[in-house]
């Protein structure tokens, strides 16, 4: 994380430090694990993917000649006989943020080499993610039941369904992949792979709790994307 100690180099903070890091030899991101740097760059690339999706959505929604459905009504859910707007989406958002919080704590305990705590928190995160995917499946089936299809819907512009299924589907795929990896990593933490530096399955790198942070970055990113989807697709 912050302030790595590098032999033979006194690291300066701020922009001076940035100039120093950039002009130094060996590494540009001082003290950043290779895998973590890779995950960051990958997430940058992934950001561009989601940005392109959302920009396309903006362009599509902005230029469609037909009225765009009101998401507040489309995604309303009956609670005790009263339609509550965006109820399910609100719960999904809370679930995802909860799982993001447990993940952040898992990373913290991972660095403190608190194997038990870290493992349980990763597992909790995985369960949160699973809940999210489950609710998304429910949401999808509800909408499909109401006649929303990728190519048409009873509420208005056909692009509504297209963008909804594509964007939430792509996000849901990310969540699902995350959940799978969370379960795998929960197992690895409990099995002590990071304490004994066991090498991974596909790599000759030694196991280290930094991997939990790398996974955490991915998971927070999924949450981050949801923040944008929530704002642009459901609230806008």
């Amino acid at each position: 994380m912050s302030d790595p100690k590098i032999e033979g180099l006194e690291l300066k903070p701020g922009f001076k430090g940035m100039a120093q890091d950039t002009s130094s030899d060996q590494t540009m991101f001082k003290g950043v694990h290779w895998g973590k740097a890779m995950m960051w760059i990958f997430l940058l690339s992934d950001t561009f993917i989601f940005s392109c999706f959302l920009i396309s959505y903006m362009k599509g929604r902005g230029s469609t000649p037909v009225e765009w459905p009101n998401p507040s009504e489309v995604f309303a859910l009956d609670a005790f006989g009263v339609p509550v707007p965006l109820l399910l989406i609100a719960i999904m958002t809370f679930v995802l943020i909860t799982s993001s919080g447990t993940m952040a704590l898992a990373v913290k305990y991972g660095y403190e080499k608190n194997r038990k705590m870290c493992g349980w928190l990763v597992l909790a995160t995985a369960l949160g993610g699973l809940t999210f995917v489950g609710m998304q499946a429910f949401e999808w089936s509800k909408l499909i039941h109401e006649g929303v299809r990728p190519w048409e819907n009873p509420f208005g512009a056909p692009q509504f369904g297209s963008f909804f299924f594509m964007i939430t589907g792509f996000h849901g795929t990310h969540v699902s992949i995350g959940v799978i990896f969370l379960f795998i990593y929960a197992y690895k933490v409990f099995a002590g792979h990071y304490d004994e530096q066991k090498r991974g399955w596909f790599t000759s790198m030694k196991g280290d709790y930094v991997e939990i942070e790398i996974l955490g970055l991915y998971w927070h990113f999924v949450d981050l994307v949801w923040v944008f989807i929530f704002a642009f697709f459901y609230l806008w």
């Binding site: 302030d3 902005g62 230029s63």
Partner: protein
């Protein structure tokens, strides 16, 4: 081939900060939900949505993803490419307005 780990000394942050951010995210999400609940419309709605969105995104990135504690070299590498996205967004706004304009124009005035 992992890096030389000096993480034992490296600060892990106090649990309080995570709990704080966690709480803030809940509150902010609640607020952005309230924007819809009270059916704010027009400019107020959009600015509130964007405000809460960027605040939430900023908190997640800064604290949960530790960007606040990372060195500037990494932070800058990650944030500057967003200008390309900003440019893309800006231009596509102009583009969809023009598309709608031509569609309506030819619909009412004729080709």
């Amino acid at each position: 081939m992992s890096e030389i780990e000096k993480k034992d000394q490296a600060s892990t942050h106090k649990i309080g900060i995570y709990l704080w951010i966690w709480g803030l995210l809940f509150v902010l999400s609640f607020f952005s939900y309230m924007v819809d609940w009270y059916q704010f419309q027009g400019l107020l709605r959009w600015s509130l949505i964007l405000f809460f969105m960027f605040l939430k995104a900023g908190l997640i990135m800064a604290f949960f993803m530790h960007l606040f504690w990372e060195r500037y070299a990494l932070v800058n590498v990650l944030l500057w490419p967003m200008t390309a996205i900003a440019c893309f967004v800006f231009l596509m706004v102009a583009e969809f307005q023009y598309t709608v304009f031509t569609r309506l124009f030819y619909f009412f005035v004729g080709g």
